[in-house]
């Protein structure tokens, strides 16, 4: 044991190891409120997914090449040639969607349980920033395989940037690194996706976790009337709560592998700037904004659309300062809960309309063509699509 002792001595001579150990133990064994249940795992699930995304992302970086000539080929190579490459790519691609879903559920939980109220307003604000960073992650990562869908979804996505008043054209030019989506765009998106966002997210997560630990988890008690937590009733983070998260982690891994095998993301055709495929749609988390933008036309309409899409995010950021009621329990906050439900259902409805727009759907046994704006137009059974002319 001589070696162990001298190593300990080495650190003791240089740091106050006792204090460090105390700080660590205090955090590790910190008692959480007794009613910390399964709904509370979505925060740490998001963190877990971020870690998974980081690891699989680094793995993919080994073989990925961010140039228009090689990007699609390298994805093909990863998927088809590298051992287990398909799995890392699929888990990374699916992980993005699952992570955004986890973040959204975490936010919904926080919203309806009133956890954002005093003194945790800033925790909520950093959380909303994390949400925005996460979907930016999704947007930038989507382009990297450089296939047709990615290329055109990005073209359409960055197109809406020029609707921003005054700086719109400049903003679009800046985002694309030129007039159109090109290799320059790929470089930019790549840098943002693998360098800037990971560190930005890490930093904000640190602040978010720090604030969360400072104030501990919220309960459903009224603001400023919280009953102090009796340590013996609290659930220690380690080793008790952490096992609960272990259950979630194991199941998450199985779910990700299953999604990777059963619903693989296709490689698709390589990007072709000269041919627009029909029905370009963004990923599911952009569908509500995508659909909302369709209803605003003309110069002022476009401006209204941009405002319409930004308002929900601004509202989310400012929400804790707008809703200063003392109640936390959802049953005692009908207005806030109603407002939240309205926003949530509205977004889901818009997203659904975006999903089915420009397709044919069957409702109550009748075929309908869904227009761009989501109106169903009954289809005449006799009309068949004309064969191609030749």
């Amino acid at each position: 044991m001589g070696l162990g002792k001298s190593v300990k001595q080495f650190f003791d001579d240089r740091f106050d190891t006792k204090l460090a150990a105390e700080l660590f133990t205090k955090q590790a064994f910190k008692r959480l409120p007794p009613r910390t249940g399964w709904l509370h795992v979505f925060g740490s699930l998001s963190l877990l997914l971020f870690i998974s995304q980081t690891i699989t992302g680094i793995m993919l970086l080994i073989y990925y090449r961010p140039t228009p000539e090689a990007a699609h080929k390298s994805i093909q190579y990863i998927t088809a040639e590298v051992q287990f490459g398909w799995m890392y790519r699929q888990i990374h691609a699916w992980g993005a969607s699952v992570m955004i879903m986890a973040v959204i559920i975490h936010m919904i939980r926080t919203f309806f349980m009133g956890s954002y109220k005093k003194p945790r307003e800033l925790t909520w604000v950093t959380g909303v920033i994390l949400f925005i960073l996460t979907i930016t992650f999704g947007f930038t990562g989507y382009l990297l395989p450089w296939n047709q869908i990615a290329f055109w979804a990005t073209t359409v996505g960055t197109e809406s940037a020029n609707k921003v008043p005054v700086i719109g054209d400049w903003l679009q030019y800046f985002l694309r690194g030129g007039d159109a989506v090109t290799g320059e765009t790929l470089s930019r998106f790549f840098v943002v996706h693998v360098i800037i966002l990971p560190w930005a997210l890490t930093g904000v997560i640190a602040v978010h976790l720090f604030l969360m630990r400072l104030n501990n988890l919220a309960t459903l008690e009224r603001v400023d009337e919280e009953v102090p937590l009796k340590p013996e009733h609290g659930i220690p983070f380690f080793p008790v709560h952490v096992t609960k998260e272990g259950v979630v982690a194991v199941l998450l891994l199985a779910v990700l592998v299953t999604l990777a095998v059963v619903y693989p993301w296709e490689i698709g055709e390589p990007a072709n700037p000269l041919e627009t495929p029909p029905h370009i749609k963004p990923e599911w988390y952009f569908l509500p904004s995508y659909q909302l933008l369709k209803y605003f036309e003309g110069t002022y309409g476009a401006l209204m659309g941009i405002i319409g899409c930004s308002v929900p995010f601004v509202l989310l950021l400012l929400w804790p300062f707008l809703d200063r009621g003392k109640e936390r329990h959802p049953k005692k906050r009908p207005l806030a809960v109603g407002f939240g439900l309205f926003g949530l259902l509205g977004a889901m409805f818009l997203g659904y309309l975006g999903h089915i727009s420009e397709t044919e759907q069957t409702f109550f046994g009748k075929r309908y063509h869904i227009t761009l704006k989501g109106w169903p137009v009954p289809l005449d059974d006799a009309t068949d699509e004309a064969p191609p002319k030749h």
């Binding site: 793995m59 080929k73 051992q83």
Partner: protein, 146 residues
């Protein structure tokens, strides 16, 4: 530290054993694919680059069809060096053949003729044969898409 509750120690030990085993299996199951992933794959990545086998044995004027990625490519040795063109006729997509005697590519389907630089000499093709990039390193010859 809290007291042990009414659990017999053997049962606790068994659960811990299962957990340790589970953790071990999970770690291995994650680590092995990871290591296999990192091990370089048999075929290198990046743009397709194919070595022309037996290039040094080709006589000037001789041509041969090879595979580059999924594409058929004709490599021809000229006096000045090697040149490579897509073997897919730009008309309907039949595979053209190099005719050594006439120094031209001939498409069997509609008798189209391309000259040694892939330009259309006669017949219905709307465009010349796309050229492939040839790199000669020592006596090895590599062909890749432009």
């Amino acid at each position: 530290m809290p007291n042990d509750m009414n659990k017999p120690p053997s049962r606790r030990g068994f659960l811990d054993l299962i957990l340790a085993l589970g953790t071990f299996i999970t770690t291995v199951a994650v680590a092995i694919p990871g290591l296999m992933y990192l091990w370089p794959a048999a075929k290198g990545g990046g743009p397709d680059k194919v070595e022309v086998e037996g290039a040094s044995n080709m006589a000037p004027g001789q041509g041969k069809t090879i595979q580059v990625g999924s594409q058929a490519v004709v490599v021809v040795r000229h006096r000045g060096g090697f040149k490579a063109y897509s073997a897919v006729c730009t008309h309907l997509g039949c595979l053209v053949k190099w005719e050594q005697s006439s120094k031209s590519f001939l498409c069997p389907c509609h008798a189209a003729v391309f000259d040694e630089n892939g330009k259309v000499v006669s017949g219905p093709p709307p465009a010349p044969l796309p050229e492939f990039v040839v790199k000669e390193i020592g006596d090895k010859v590599f062909v890749s898409a432009a």
